[in-house]
Symmetry: C2
Subunit: 339 residues, 2 copies
DNA sequence: GGTTAGCACTCACCACGCCCGAGTGCCAAG
DNA sequence: CTTGGCACTCGGGCGTGGTGAGTGCTAACC
């Protein structure tokens, strides 16, 4: 009973604070929620909650504000993901359904996510490391240059030009293509290094330099280009918080410019299909200690290819944001597997 | 004499204001610059300059601040592009020289420009419309799907998948490849629509649906993908101005998210090799009325392939920014023509 | 005529002091 | 355990007065 009401109070505090962005007091709480008790009782509960570190008072005569810990409890136990309205689902469907190619899907997704959540959206391109090779092709650009083209199941296409010291012979190229093709087609990227290991030994000595150069180049692409691509959207939503709230957006903008930071942010997503939420100081990167990050993976069931999510203030609408992120991830998954 | 000193005063005002970001008064001016006259005289000049609209007073008892018109005069007549130090040039050279592929060049350029100018950098990928086709290739992905690959002289590679209603015959594809290749190789993108116009008539009727589909797809790529790609950098520099200066960065962030706005921004660059500067209200987009945009085109002499530049507050260091933009544009031009 | 010194004037800015009210913690009664 | 009552705290809004930077004007000067 006692414990139960305390949680209800915390929930109410979070909800009110998210709605108003102002410290919430005991009086207002009983007015706006049916708690069935008087302000004085609430005050006792609030004192207890503060004692336990779930809420804090900015200064003596102000109301209380949830702490990161308070939000965590709220997210874990007090909130339920609210389903999107059918209108919203249809809107998403229509908007994403029109996408032509992968670039289009990504850019539409990021815009959609930013618009739905009114926050900064972060979308990662399907990760090569978790994709499969669908096809490999060569194009002879000049006598000494060939372009390698890797077509990936997620729709990505990687290309790279190799310089060779000797002129490229057409037959050799054909041979190489078929052998490489056999070796890597439909194989996961992560297995490529081992699969290409001894491939050069099968060729006659005159061709080996070229073969080695090609293989080296592919390996380079595989390892290097794993620095995945990320698209951002809704950055201007940051300005909104800057004005109302007293938090500087500089560190956040800096974080968003660091591909590495973003990748780790998305990479830390929980391995299961669920939505992952990191609140305030739970984020490793200090610049994001005043923000929360909501992410989800997308791709086929049990084998996600990448992540997407949003970055927003800790006082965000968690249920709404989580449902939006989850829904968008599901839609993107569906669209990508349709190819 | 009279006119001459007034210009000197304006120049001094701009310089001081850019340095301090505070309204500058007559006393400070004579202290920091060798003008050879007394504050009272300066005051007369300032009154005249204000009359003519080059400077303005925020309020009665504050110093003067340059207007957009004042900056314009400063840029046009009073400043000279200051050359970069050799150390800076070497730094640029080293940093950009390491770039491996086009993506790398673009991302390094944008970071470099942001770092040099401490402002927001905007770099446009080489424009297809001003590029030439170097090569066209087809890859049969499945029976009904072929991938078209366009290799462009600026290093870009565009690909697109076409769905065909009928199975694709290998010979037809070879035939199509050679004809298309002959038609478009080394031709500017802008000429492609006319060159492809009647190409389908040369094929036998059974192949025509495929040919038409391919041609349509290429045309689509040519026209649609002309929505060029743009990379941004240094957005966090905006936060700096936000704090010190009283200008909201929201509209600026919004503008930066709009590809269309950015493209127009870069597209309006003056046609010659010089650096183009648009100050405050000279920018068509209202969200950027409080900023200045410094751009330059890059590419071969007399045939630029794209633009790059920076967006910053109107009280920026124009000579420094202009020289940085110009230098970077030149370096990028050089690197791209090296391929 | 252009330049300069002197002077009165204007205001943004800051510091101080004041009050107000929201919100609290505590206590004693229900 | 809950509740009404009450004293207390303290941030924020507001008027007040002082300060100083900067100006425009006028009259004298070269």
């Amino acid at each position: 009973m006692l414990e139960e009401r305390r949680l209800a109070v915390l929930k109410a505090i979070v909800q009110d604070y998210v709605a108003t962005h102002e410290p919430v007091g005991s009086k207002g709480l009983v007015d706006r929620h049916q708690l069935g008790v008087s302000p004085a009782t609430i005050r006792n509960d609030m004192a207890a909650l503060e004692e336990e570190g779930y809420i804090t008072a900015p200064h003596t005569s102000a109301g209380r504000v949830p702490t990161d810990r308070g939000y965590r409890l709220f997210v874990d136990q007090l909130s339920q993901v609210k389903p999107l309205s059918t209108a919203e689902r249809k809107g998403i469907d229509r908007f994403l359904g029109e996408a032509a190619d992968l670039d289009d899907v990504m850019s539409r997704t990021v815009r959609l996510l930013a618009q739905l959540t009114k926050q900064v959206a972060v979308v990662q391109y399907p990760s090569l490391s978790r994709s499969h090779v669908r096809r490999i092709e060569f194009i002879k650009v000049t006598d000494h240059k060939i372009m390698i083209i890797l077509i990936v199941d997620s729709g990505r296409v990687e290309q790279r030009v190799v310089d060779c010291s000797v002129p490229v012979q057409e037959e050799l190229l054909t041979d190489l293509r078929s052998r490489l093709s056999a070796a890597v087609t439909d194989q996961p990227f992560s297995s490529i290094p081992t699969r290409l290991e001894d491939l050069d030994s099968g060729f006659d000595p005159t061709g080996q330099p070229l073969v080695r150069a090609v293989i080296a180049s592919i390996l380079e692409t595989v390892t290097e280009k794993l620095d995945e691509r990320i698209v951002l959207g809704g950055t201007s939503n940051l300005a909104h918080y800057n004005e109302v709230f007293a938090m500087s957006i500089q560190p956040v903008l800096e974080a968003l410019e660091e591909q590495v930071v973003l990748l780790r942010l998305l990479g830390e997503a929980s391995p299961n299909q669920q939505v992952s939420v990191r609140i305030g100081h739970e984020n490793e990167y200090v610049g994001l200690n005043a923000t929360s990050v909501v992410t989800s993976q997308y791709g086929r069931e049990n084998s996600p290819v990448a992540s997407l999510g949003v970055v927003g203030p800790t006082h965000m609408d968690y249920p709404g944001t989580m449902s939006a992120v989850q829904a968008v991830a599901q839609y993107v998954s569906r669209i990508l597997s349709a190819n």
